[in-house]
């Protein structure tokens, strides 16, 4: 199994510009004359600011989201493969496509992996959506197979709630043999302390599978909510009254997540 660790979206502006030019020159989007303009229009349709635009949004958000995700696929398929393009650069390019700068919350994450079934790229992208107040983002996990110097979509899995924002991903390098394991979490705004949706999933070279689908957690800090351990991961949660820190420890064994213990860490 070959995986990469969590990729921090470091700045790479010159390469994004090159990617953009590549899109214009090579992608189907460019061929259709859409390119940035069309993607921008799609992004625009996924945002609403009043009742009228909200109604239009609600009527079209699924189709538009899918179209935007297909644009992302096109970008990845036409971009990933050439020598020198890294998953991190792909992630930055995807963020640019969906209209997010890499410094913003919920940046895309791309992981490359060599599995027995071949070489793959797994992308987790958070598509900004919703009104001006509460984000209604959708997270899509997309896996591409890399062969003959080009990428093609193999599988995808979406994570969607009424409100969602700030996707975080950590790979679980040893938990799932010959597959890519991930723990992903995102905030469910506007609640504070933060309410989080958490999923453990893996990609085995053919499809995504949700391994663990717990009920939502409450935490005081989204970024540091998950800490990887030698046997699995820890979750830094709060009790239901938000008064006490509770460390929840989990192990992953044979592809199954099991709770080891809860440790009361005292007042928040």
């Amino acid at each position: 199994m070959q995986t990469r660790n969590y990729v921090s979206p470091a700045a790479c502006v010159p390469f994004l510009l090159a990617l953009s030019m590549m899109l214009r020159a090579q992608s189907g989007l460019a061929d259709k004359g859409a390119s940035d303009l069309d993607v921008s229009a799609l992004r625009s349709q996924l945002r609403w600011k009043d009742e009228a635009t909200k109604l239009n949004y609600l009527a079209n958000k699924r189709a538009v989201t899918e179209e935007l995700l297909r644009a992302i696929d096109s970008f990845v398929e036409q971009t990933y493969g050439p020598a020198g393009v890294t998953p991190g650069q792909i992630a930055k390019g995807v963020d640019s496509l969906v209209g997010r700068s890499s410094s913003e919350i919920g940046s895309a994450v791309a992981l490359g992996a060599q599995l027995s079934r071949g070489k793959f790229l797994v992308l987790a992208v958070e598509v900004p959506r919703g009104g001006t107040a509460i984000p209604e983002d959708i997270v899509s996990f997309r896996a591409y197979t890399i062969a003959d110097g080009s990428a093609s979509l193999v599988s995808h899995l979406e994570l969607e709630r009424e409100f969602l924002v700030d996707l975080h991903i950590l790979p679980l390098p040893s938990a799932f043999p010959d597959s890519i394991g991930l723990i992903a979490w995102a905030d469910l705004p506007p609640l504070t302390p933060f309410s989080l949706i958490v999923r453990v999933l893996n990609f085995d070279g053919e499809s995504f599978r949700v391994v663990w689908e717990p009920t939502d957690f409450i935490t005081g800090n989204v970024q540091s909510f998950v800490a990887l351990t030698s046997v699995g991961f820890d979750l830094n949660t709060l009790n239901s009254r938000w008064t006490t820190k509770v460390l929840q420890r989990y192990t992953i064994s044979s592809g199954t997540v099991e709770k080891l213990e809860e440790i009361d860490l005292g007042p928040r």
Partner: protein, 599 residues
């Protein structure tokens, strides 16, 4: 009185046998003897004797003791009476030929005695009062009958004499005659007999005969059992509120078992005698129509079918004074908060003067139900009755759907009315307060109010879920307010008061136009305070949640934290140096301060 010795004297007597005894009654004063006319002279026969005719020849009379008297019998006079050989005059019934028969007890074969006739001179009550027994005189009243007279006892028989009431007789024992009772404890002398008596409530009123019987004869008297004059000992209430239907309890005695007539001299709407009245208590319902002083009169109708039988000098009616007064009404000032889950809420209604009894009539109507999707019902399960300040229970329905309403409530007592307002906030407001800020109960802490105002500020803002619906039920949902998942079903305080104030728009608190908030920890608040001099556009979207704990809202827009002084510090120990909540909104301008403070 008796005399066992043989008296001497002459006079006229009448005589007759009864069994073996010859009873001769003196008709005139027997000469030489202190035996008054009417005295019974008794000669008990132990053997045969003869009677002869005065002045005639001796005619032995072999009268057997059992043969009884004979007409026109003659006896010989020997000049002495009433011993053997003495002359007694005998008037024999049916003899029309001569009246001055006399006879001689010819043979002294028995004993002769005489008894004086009993005479009843008067019947008296206790302590010399008149004997006026009336119906419903309980035994416990200790009343006594005193029979005054002469010769009330007799020789040869055990005291006391036999007394009969309406033919029911006893010598010293209890007597019961149609509800009139003489007790078994007699105090007897020749001139006076004292006997306890009582009269049932069901006794027959009317004339009764009393007969006293001794060996000397019988004496009779009559008396009447009458219905007692009713007596009122209490009227409650004695002050009647004009225009208020009032239940008045009249206590006393001798009201009878038939429904009495009750009247009020003040103008009124009619006096209705309520059911369940008794000989000592009556309840009536009456409404005085004008102020003033008047009388409440009870006219007894007696006991059972006989109606009322008054005693001489007695009466049938009793009266008591009552006063009709005009009243003024006041009611607890609103808004009075009520939760749909409360079972013991009430509000006060007061009447002046405070000594009148009234029953306020309560009515309610919906005044408004702002920003709510469900209207609550208002009930007044029990209307109290009494004096002074009364507390009217009130309940509200519709808790399951968080129903609500602002109701105008009117209390009326006759003419006067008073009104107030009852506010039933949506239960979801209370639940959200309990769930999010249940520990912020310090006086002056506006945390709960501010929390609810953030939701109110979302009304009309379509960018927040429920904002377009503009209802508390649509905005306060668990996915936006943790506290909305709280299951509190009643009106805990101060949450109820706060919810009612916000729901009714009574609060004057300002949170600017903030639609969001969060509860920073002590370190987060310390960081936030360092942003006071920073511009809103210098704080990134990421910094709000990651550095100070703010919510993910208005991404891409400069934001501003609002610290409200009247939101006291968090009751949680780990956040006790920070306000319970910090308000949050889009900054008025990108260059506006990232943090501001308001009162």
């Amino acid at each position: 009185m008796c005399a066992q010795s043989r008296p001497t004297g002459t006079g006229y007597v009448t005589a007759a046998f009864s069994g073996t005894t010859l009873y001769a009654y003196a008709q005139t004063q027997l000469s030489g003897m202190q035996i008054p006319p009417g005295t019974k002279i008794i000669h008990t026969v132990t053997a045969g004797f003869s009677l002869g005719v005065k002045g005639g020849s001796l005619k032995p009379f072999a009268q057997s003791a059992s043969a009884g008297p004979q007409n026109s019998q003659e006896v010989e006079e020997d000049g002495d009476i009433p011993d053997d050989g003495d002359v007694v005059y005998i008037v024999v019934a049916g003899d029309t030929a001569g009246c001055n028969y006399f006879g001689t007890i010819w043979s002294d074969t028995g004993t002769t005695s005489y008894e004086l006739l009993p005479a009843i001179t008067s019947l008296q009550g206790s302590a010399g009062s008149a004997f006026t027994p009336h119906v419903d005189t309980p035994q416990s009243a200790g009343q006594t009958l005193v029979i005054k007279g002469a010769n009330l006892t007799a020789a040869g028989q055990s005291n006391p004499p036999q007394i009969c009431v309406n033919g029911v007789c006893s010598a010293g024992g209890a007597i019961s005659a149609t509800g009139f009772h003489l007790g078994g404890s007699w105090n007897v002398s020749d001139s006076s007999i004292t006997i306890p008596y009582w009269v049932d409530a069901t006794a027959t009123a009317g004339n009764y005969s009393l007969q006293l019987i001794t060996a000397g004869g019988a004496a009779t008297a009559t008396f009447s059992v009458t219905d007692a004059t009713p007596v009122i000992t209490g009227v409650s209430p004695s002050t009647l509120a004009v225009g208020v239907q009032t239940t008045v309890t009249i206590t006393g005695s001798h009201f009878g078992t038939n429904t009495p007539k009750v009247s009020l001299s003040l103008p009124n709407n009619g006096v209705a005698v309520l059911g369940g009245n008794s000989d000592s208590q009556i309840q009536v319902s009456v409404m005085a129509a004008a102020p003033g002083t008047g009388t409440l009169s009870v006219t007894a109708e007696g006991y059972g079918g006989q109606g009322f039988l008054g005693s001489p000098g007695g009466g049938q009616t009793a009266s008591a004074q009552v006063t009709g007064v005009g009243i003024s009404l006041s009611i607890q000032q609103g808004p009075i908060p009520v939760s749909t889950g409360d079972t013991s809420d009430s509000f006060g209604v007061s009447a002046n003067p405070s000594n009148i009894t009234y029953t306020p009539a309560i009515s309610a109507s919906l005044a408004s139900n702002p920003n709510s999707s469900c209207q609550a019902g208002l009930n007044f399960p029990n209307t109290p009755s009494g004096q002074g300040t009364l507390y009217v229970p009130v309940t509200a329905t519709g808790g399951a759907n968080s129903c609500s309403g602002i109701f105008n409530v009117i209390a009326a007592a006759g003419g006067p009315t008073a009104s107030t307002q009852i506010v039933v906030p949506p239960q979801i407001m209370i639940q959200t307060e309990v769930g999010e800020a249940g520990a912020q109960t310090q006086p002056g802490d506006e945390t709960m109010i501010s929390l609810l105002l953030t939701a109110k500020n979302r009304f009309g803002d379509s960018t927040f879920p429920g904002g377009s619906a503009s209802t508390w039920q649509a905005v306060l949902v668990p996915s936006r307010y943790y506290g909305a998942s709280n299951a509190t079903t009643n009106g805990v305080e101060p949450e109820l008061k706060n919810a009612a104030a916000v729901f009714a728009g009574e609060t004057t608190e300002s949170i600017l136009n903030c639609e969001a908030y969060w509860s920073p920890t002590n370190p987060q608040f310390a960081t936030l305070q360092t942003w006071t001099n920073k511009q809103a556009n210098s704080i990134t979207d990421t910094s709000w949640p990651s550095l100070v704990g703010g919510p993910y809202l208005w991404l891409g827009t400069p934001k501003q934290a609002v610290i409200k002084a009247s939101i006291l510090n968090n009751a949680q120990a780990a956040s006790n140096l920070a306000p319970a909540i910090v308000l949050f909104r889009p900054a008025p301008s990108p260059t506006a301060p990232a943090v501001i403070s308001i009162p």
